[in-house]
């Protein structure tokens, strides 16, 4: 009886009820939309970072990350890399030689990180070949080919086939100058990365760096970094421990880029933050409406208590009215929201208008919406809590009424 009464009371003022249902549904929809957007952005940031820059696992000399000195090289990196590549969990492996130096053109000079890569392997790990927007990928037709980013090309005012000079420290700490020719221009969509890195053939770089006063060190063995891409991130810990070696620092992407771990953990509670804010705002709307509904029914509530409906039942009735409100609104909001998420998850939301600023943060211009599945139970819980919380005061007001006074009220 009480539920029937509550349900019918809800529809006494259909306009008011529909407005409130609309507001709650809109709130739920907005919560899903914003969560979907934020999660999509974060996922795109993380996957961009993994795909283009950090990979899943990287190996360095333990001192390398602090000093970045070429002398902190790995011992026999290619042999190890070949062995790891045989594991079926591993998708691709690349060995890189890294150097820090200065790149200069006739128009300018900049500090730069030089990545010496094996083009074929690199394209499997980071897909660098897909990022070439002008000219071509490293083909090894000539010596000393270099890939620079569009951003850097603009800064240095150089074009395809322009000559650039790289000044780098070699293994003895001597500065070695070398001329390189631009064969391709890349664009990853991550501006800070693009402005700070150039790619050359590892064999070219090794030849430059291994020349010492006592003669040449075997140039084929120089390497500072092994980067691995796995088929599945869940195998990261296993592969990481399988690769452990004395004098090797084997790190996963979260260890290499702590910001990725931060973002990943944030993904778990963006929805909580958005929903809390939205539901807090809705609480006041519900309190207001329920209070109005109680105040305009004072005489009737007095009559109900007069003829024998006890306070618990009156309290329950008011609470149920608010809960029903949420129970109607939440599924509507969820349905509309998940449809929106589905479509924007498939087609993505194109933000290329703002792609410059997105690239500053290493994000793609198209955001594919995505929500963690827990949001779908989180929302009903939030709406229910909001409805209950918001109805408490109006329901309390109702049971504080004295039947005589309520009935006398005109």
């Amino acid at each position: 009886m009480i539920p029937i009464l509550a349900w019918r009371n809800l529809w006494r003022n259909p306009t008011r009820t529909l407005v409130l249902i609309g507001a709650i549904a809109l709130g739920v929809w907005a919560g899903l939309f914003m969560t979907g957007f934020a999660t999509g952005m974060i996922k795109s940031y993380i996957s961009n970072a993994i795909d283009q820059i950090v990979s899943h696992i990287q190996v360095h000399h333990p001192n390398f990350s602090e000093d970045q000195d070429v002398k902190f090289r790995l011992d026999q990196p290619d042999q190890h890399a070949a062995k790891i590549a045989e594991k079926e969990e591993v998708k691709a492996v690349v060995v890189r030689t890294l150097a820090t130096g200065m790149i200069s053109s006739a128009k300018g000079a900049r500090g730069i990180r030089v990545k010496g890569i094996s083009p074929a392997e690199e394209s499997k790990v980071t897909g660098l070949d897909q990022k070439i927007v002008e000219g071509e990928y490293l083909a090894g037709k000539r010596k000393n080919e270099i890939l620079i980013s569009r951003a850097l090309a603009e800064k240095l005012k150089v074009k395809i086939r322009s000559k650039l000079v790289l000044n780098m420290q070699d293994l003895e700490g001597e500065i070695t100058p070398a001329a390189f020719r631009v064969v391709g221009i890349f664009h990853t969509g991550n501006k800070p990365f693009d402005e700070g890195h150039v790619f050359v053939q590892r064999k070219d770089l090794n030849r430059l760096l291994t020349l010492t006063s006592e003669g040449r060190i075997d140039p084929t063995t120089l390497g500072h970094e092994i980067a691995l891409l796995l088929h599945d991130t869940k195998n990261i810990p296993a592969i990481q421990s399988a690769m452990a070696q004395p004098d090797w620092k084997v790190e996963n992407y979260k260890e290499i880029s702590p910001d990725l771990e931060l973002y990943e953990s944030q993904m778990g509670f963006v929805s909580t933050i958005y929903l809390s804010i939205i539901m807090l705002a809705l609480t006041f709307g519900i309190i207001n409406t329920m209070l109005m509904a109680v105040l305009e029914r004072i005489r009737e509530l007095g009559m109900l208590m007069g003829i024998g409906m006890n306070k618990l039942k009156v309290f329950l009735m008011i609470m149920l009215e608010a809960i029903f409100l949420g129970a109607v609104a939440a599924p509507i909001g969820l349905a509309l929201g998940s449809l929106t998420i589905y479509f924007l998850g498939q087609s993505g939301l194109d933000l290329s208008m703002y792609s410059d600023s997105l690239e500053m943060y290493g994000m793609s211009p198209v955001v594919y919406f995505d929500v963690p599945s827990k949001v779908y139970w989180q929302i009903p819980v939030f709406v229910a809590c909001t409805a209950i919380l918001a109805a408490l005061y109006p329901a309390y007001k109702a049971i504080k009424l004295k039947p005589v006074e309520a009935i006398r009220k005109i």
Partner: protein, 228 residues
């Protein structure tokens, strides 16, 4: 036996500022099967007395016994249960729950008492027949006239078979024909079910139908006339 018995019932409003003695020492005994009108000028305390007898309000002083029980001893929640079990109310207006049909209104208190569906259905049918509204079972209060609404209210008050029925100016909003009609029904139920009715009124035609007339003046009983 006395169904209702009051002793020295006094009700003071605003005791701290300018005290208003709405009731000033009312002793009244009402027996099973009476058909009693409480009359008196406006402000004489009729509503106050009915509210106190019905356990809707508490006296400032004095005692109220209903069916031998001192109801001043009951807590607010116990009073609600007490009203549910023993007293039927017919108010002047706003008697019915607007979102429920006539049938649902009549069975409402029985539902609160958790009576079985068969019992409820049978009682609703019997009472709606009795008040002449068997064709209005599924009408909402807003679809009924004022007189019909008051008849439904009488049926609702009677449904749980209370000890007595209190009605505060039940005909105040009705035209003379509806008033006659309601009184006929109340008088018949009084006879047939031996139901005790206590009602307040200003209306001479209603007073003429009462079998006992208690007159209040300034919160005191000035006349008590039995017409048997």
């Amino acid at each position: 036996m006395d169904v209702i018995k009051t002793q020295g019932v006094t009700k003071v409003y605003n005791p701290d500022k300018i005290p208003v003695y709405a009731l000033n020492g009312v002793d009244i005994n009402i027996e099973q099967g009476e058909f009693t009108a409480i009359v008196g000028p406006s402000g004489s305390g009729k509503t106050t007395l009915l509210n106190i007898i019905g356990g809707l309000d508490r006296p400032s002083d004095g005692e109220v016994f209903v069916g031998g029980q001192d109801i001043s001893q009951l807590s607010d929640n116990q009073l609600i249960d007490f009203r549910k079990e023993y007293i039927g109310f017919v108010f002047q207006a706003y008697n019915l729950i607007p979102v429920l049909t006539a049938k649902e209104n009549v069975e409402f208190v029985m539902l609160l008492q958790k009576r079985s569906k068969e019992e409820r259905d049978q009682r609703v049918k019997e009472l709606m027949d009795s008040v002449g509204l068997s064709d209005k079972l599924d009408s909402r209060p807003a679809q009924l006239s004022g007189g019909q609404q008051q008849r439904v209210a009488v049926a609702r008050a009677l449904a749980p078979k209370p000890t007595f029925i209190l009605a505060d100016e039940p005909t105040a909003n009705l035209d003379s024909k509806s008033t006659e009609n309601l009184l006929d029904i109340m008088a018949r139920l009084n006879k047939e079910e031996n139901m005790t009715f206590v009602f307040s009124t200003h209306d001479q035609r209603v007073i003429d139908r009462a079998r006992r007339v208690v007159t209040l003046v300034d919160g005191k009983i000035s006349h008590d006339e039995r017409r048997d």
